[in-house]
């Protein structure tokens, strides 16, 4: 699998926050914490992996939507922490998309 393909395995984005990984962890892992920022009342969160304060995986989905897998990685950086989130639809190999785009561009 090429580098290009690998990087399109899932939707991925990140943010840097001026706070410790522990402070961010509280906002991710507790329902009270999530209420302050998530704003997705129609989606139910089912937590799968909990490795405080660096890795959290949950599954979620709304009505009529296939469940997707959301993974958070929290890494300490000099002024705080970086949060990287990836969301994937396990039934659907996003790598196919990358291949199709490569074909169109070729």
């Amino acid at each position: 699998m090429s580098e290009r393909t690998r990087e399109r395995e899932a939707a991925r984005t990140e943010v840097e926050i001026e706070a410790s990984p522990e402070e961010i962890w509280e906002a991710l892992v507790t329902e009270e914490g999530r209420e302050t920022w998530l704003q997705e009342p129609d989606r139910e969160v089912h937590v799968e992996v909990v490795q405080a304060p660096s890795r959290l995986v949950w599954w979620w989905g709304g009505e009529d939507e296939p469940a997707t897998r959301v993974e958070f990685e929290i890494v300490a950086v000099p002024d705080g922490a970086r949060v990287v989130v990836t969301e994937s639809e396990p039934a659907f190999p996003i790598s196919l998309l990358a291949m199709s785009f490569a074909r169109v561009l070729a």
């Binding site: 984005t13 001026e18 706070a19 659907f92 196919l96």
Partner: protein, 107 residues
């Protein structure tokens, strides 16, 4: 997620059908005999999977070249899935901006 995208995901949830799409991405066109030679399944099973991919809008018959019926990927077939990826990343950008605001305000 739209019905259209749901059908694409459902069609691609099967490893045999994914292998067929990968063959098409590699080779451009394919046919029932060719897929039957490549995959460990019967000709009937190949035809059935191709019908599912056709129904989901992923493949179509290519213009005939000789007697063999050939199939190709339909243009733009995977675009809805690409849109999902872009929408999902944009949604997370907004959520992470709110997360940053909430956590930094609390300090």
């Amino acid at each position: 997620m739209s019905d259209e995208l749901g059908q694409v995901f459902a069609a691609l949830s099967d490893p045999t059908r994914r292998a067929m799409i990968e063959a098409l991405l590699r080779e451009g066109t394919t046919s029932v005999p060719r897929l039957t030679a490549e995959l460990p399944i019967t000709r009937q099973a190949v035809a059935k999977h191709l019908a599912t991919l056709d129904h989901a809008g992923l493949v179509e018959r290519a213009p005939a070249a000789g007697r063999e019926v050939r199939y190709r990927l339909r243009d733009g077939a995977l675009v809805p899935a690409g849109a999902w990826l872009a929408e999902t990343e944009a949604a997370w950008d907004s959520r992470l901006a709110r997360l940053k605001g909430a956590v930094e305000r609390k300090r």
